[in-house]
Point group: C2
Chain length 180, copies 2
C-alpha cells in the first residue's frame, strides 16, 4: 500500500480528500470513501467533477445506489469494525482470568497489524503505543476502547461520544427503552 | 453465558427460535435476533405473540424502526464481523512474510475466543479445529474464510456463496461494474 499518487491519476477525490492508492496504483477501496473511489474509477463523472462547481451535485449522485454485495468503503469498514470491537467489550467478563486478559491483548495487537485500511491501522498502532490498553475488566476495556474511538472521531471531524454511556450504546440499550 | 432458560421466562422467541439468556438470566442481545429479543423484552407484545396466529404480524412490527444507536443483534454483529474478516482477506499480502502469517493465525485464534455471540464462537472454534486455517497467501486465506462463512450459511439456512468469486465480492467489485 502507498499514499503516493501514480502518474496521471488525480490526487484528490470529489470530497476534497486525498485519494489513497494501492501497490498497483489503483485507488484502494478500503482506504477511500465510496464517493471518492467512484469519483476516480468512474471516468465520465470524474471529468465532470473536475469543475469545482459541479462537485456537490456529482457527490450526491455518486454516493447513492450502492448494491449491498459490493466491497465496503472505508466508512462501512469502520462502522462494522467498531460494532465488533464494542460488542467484544460488552461481552468481555467483569472478572476476566489472566488467560482472558492475555487473549484480549493479543487480539487487539494482532488486529492493529492487519486492519484493512493501512493508514487507519498506523494511527491505531500509534494510539496503542501512547495509551496502554486496559483489560482489567469489562468497564475498563469498554472505556479504553471508547476513548480510542473518540480519538478517531476527533481526527475525522465526527462528534465525540460520552464514554460514561458506553454500556447504554453497546450493551444494554438506552434507558428510554428505544432499543427494547 | 448460558443457554438455560431462567424460571418463568419463555423458551422460544417470536421467530420460533430458542432464546439465549446471559449469566444474569436476561436475554442476550448479541446472541438473539432483534425480533426475538424484542418479543421477550417487550412484555405486551410478548403476550400477544403467544397466540401463534399473530406471530407473523407481530414479527413485522417488532423488527422495524430500530434506532441506529442501539446495541447490535446477532445478525448485525454477524454482518459487521464478516465485513471486517473478508476485508482483512482482501488486503492480506499475496506474498506474506512468516511474521504476517503468524500474526493472522494469532488474530483468528484470539478472535475465536472472544466473539461476542458465545455459541457462534463455539461453532467457529470447532470449525477451526476441523479445517486448518490457510494463511499461505491472500487467495488461500480468502477461500478458507469463504468456506468458513459458507459453513455458517448452511447452519442458518442462508444461500451458499461461490468461493471462486470471493475477490469480486470483497476486493475488486463485480465485473459488470455495479460497484464502480
Amino acid at each position: 500500500m502507498s499514499e503516493d499518487k501514480p502518474h496521471g491519476m488525480p490526487q484528490f477525490g470529489a470530497s476534497g480528500r486525498k485519494i489513497v492508492y494501492d501497490e498497483n496504483g489503483k485507488p484502494c477501496r478500503t482506504c477511500n470513501t465510496l464517493l471518492d473511489f467512484r469519483s476516480i474509477t468512474n471516468n465520465a463523472t470524474s471529468k465532470a467533477a473536475a469543475g469545482a462547481a459541479v462537485v456537490t451535485a456529482t457527490a450526491s449522485v455518486l454516493a447513492t445506489n450502492v448494491p449491498s454485495d459490493c466491497p465496503p468503503d472505508v466508512e462501512e469498514l469502520g462502522r462494522s469494525t467498531w460494532t465488533l470491537l464494542h460488542s467484544i467489550a460488552a461481552t468481555y467478563p467483569e472478572k476476566p482470568t489472566d488467560a482472558q486478559k492475555d487473549n484480549l491483548k493479543t487480539f487487539m495487537k494482532s488486529f492493529s497489524n492487519l486492519y484493512p485500511c493501512f493508514y487507519c491501522a498506523d494511527d491505531f498502532r500509534e494510539y496503542m503505543n501512547k495509551e496502554k490498553i486496559q483489560v482489567t475488566n469489562r468497564d475498563e476495556f469498554g472505556k479504553w476502547l471508547c476513548n480510542a474511538h473518540n480519538a478517531v472521531n476527533v481526527k475525522i471531524g465526527k462528534p465525540v461520544f460520552d464514554c460514561q454511556l458506553w454500556k447504554e450504546r453497546w450493551k444494554d440499550g438506552w434507558k428510554d427503552g428505544r432499543c427494547d
